[in-house]
């Protein structure tokens, strides 16, 4: 790699300034992702510690809240982990009375996942602190910056993941 693009201006190009594509700018973006992601997860992590849960539990709670009645297979696709890995997490949440697993009505092989009152309360706590940080960042940066933020993140996703990102719905038996 290290294509000519890194130089900034394309000599005969359309005249657009391509300085934002230099290796240095790209590196700053990469480091920003690394640093920001750490702090992005830090607030929920602190709450999870008190409950003997980890980030994996948070993710499960989030997407069950987001799509109540979602099936295990569905969740598997969203989270991108193995059945065994998800099952361990889910088992804990169900045992602790955070998540309810209901046998499907149409297809009895499926299990539809729902948050209990208790689970919804925990999810709300986690979402609140994470949204608080996000809201502060959004407010500080302003609407135009937020639009750009979302655009770049979306462009960074693989096409299949982008489809997931847009099309989380299903569930609901």
């Amino acid at each position: 790699m290290n294509t000519g693009q890194a130089k900034g201006l394309l000599p005969g190009g359309g005249g657009e300034n391509l300085l934002f594509l230099t290796d240095d700018q790209l590196r700053k973006g990469i480091e920003a992702m690394f640093f920001a992601y750490r702090d992005f997860t830090a607030d929920p992590d602190r709450i999870l510690e008190n409950h003997a849960y980890g980030r994996a539990h948070h993710r499960a709670l989030h997407f069950i809240q987001r799509s109540p009645g979602t099936t295990v297979n569905n969740l598997l696709a969203i989270l991108g982990v193995t059945k065994q890995s998800l099952n361990r997490v889910l088992r804990g949440l169900i045992e602790d009375g955070m998540v309810e697993s209901r046998v499907g009505r149409r297809d009895k092989r499926e299990r539809h996942l729902h948050l209990t009152e208790k689970g919804a309360a925990l999810e709300r706590m986690l979402a609140d602190v994470q949204r608080a940080r996000m809201r502060a960042a959004y407010r500080a940066a302003g609407p135009a910056a937020v639009a750009g933020f979302r655009q770049v993140l979306e462009a960074m996703m693989d096409p299949e993941r982008r489809a997931l990102y847009h099309g989380i719905r299903e569930g609901g038996a």
Copy 2:
């Protein structure tokens, strides 16, 4: 939480449109971070597998490349892990001839870290694929979006981390 802000428009406010601060918009941002970060790390991860290394090794290589001659303590602060955790990773990289650890000239307690030729080559491979994804995303989104992307990520960082993000330099001897 769930302050009135989530409603969108402040009735008596300055007239600015605050729809970008709704809980729904914030949730989309949170999910975008989750999905994008996965794919952001996926390309280097594939390369690392072939070398029996993990993400932790990548991070070490990146920041040593970025600040040649940096000390262990310095790297510790940047990565935000324990000495024991970093040491395990660093030991592997040194044994494999990827990283060189030189006793400090001024302060002989310090060890200054440098990439070897071999280490630099691996780091270049990792950086190349990660930059390629970043470049494609930047190009697709355009310079204005990129500026917003960086602004929001920076606003998401804790102040101390933001200082680190800006002020990685030191090292050098």
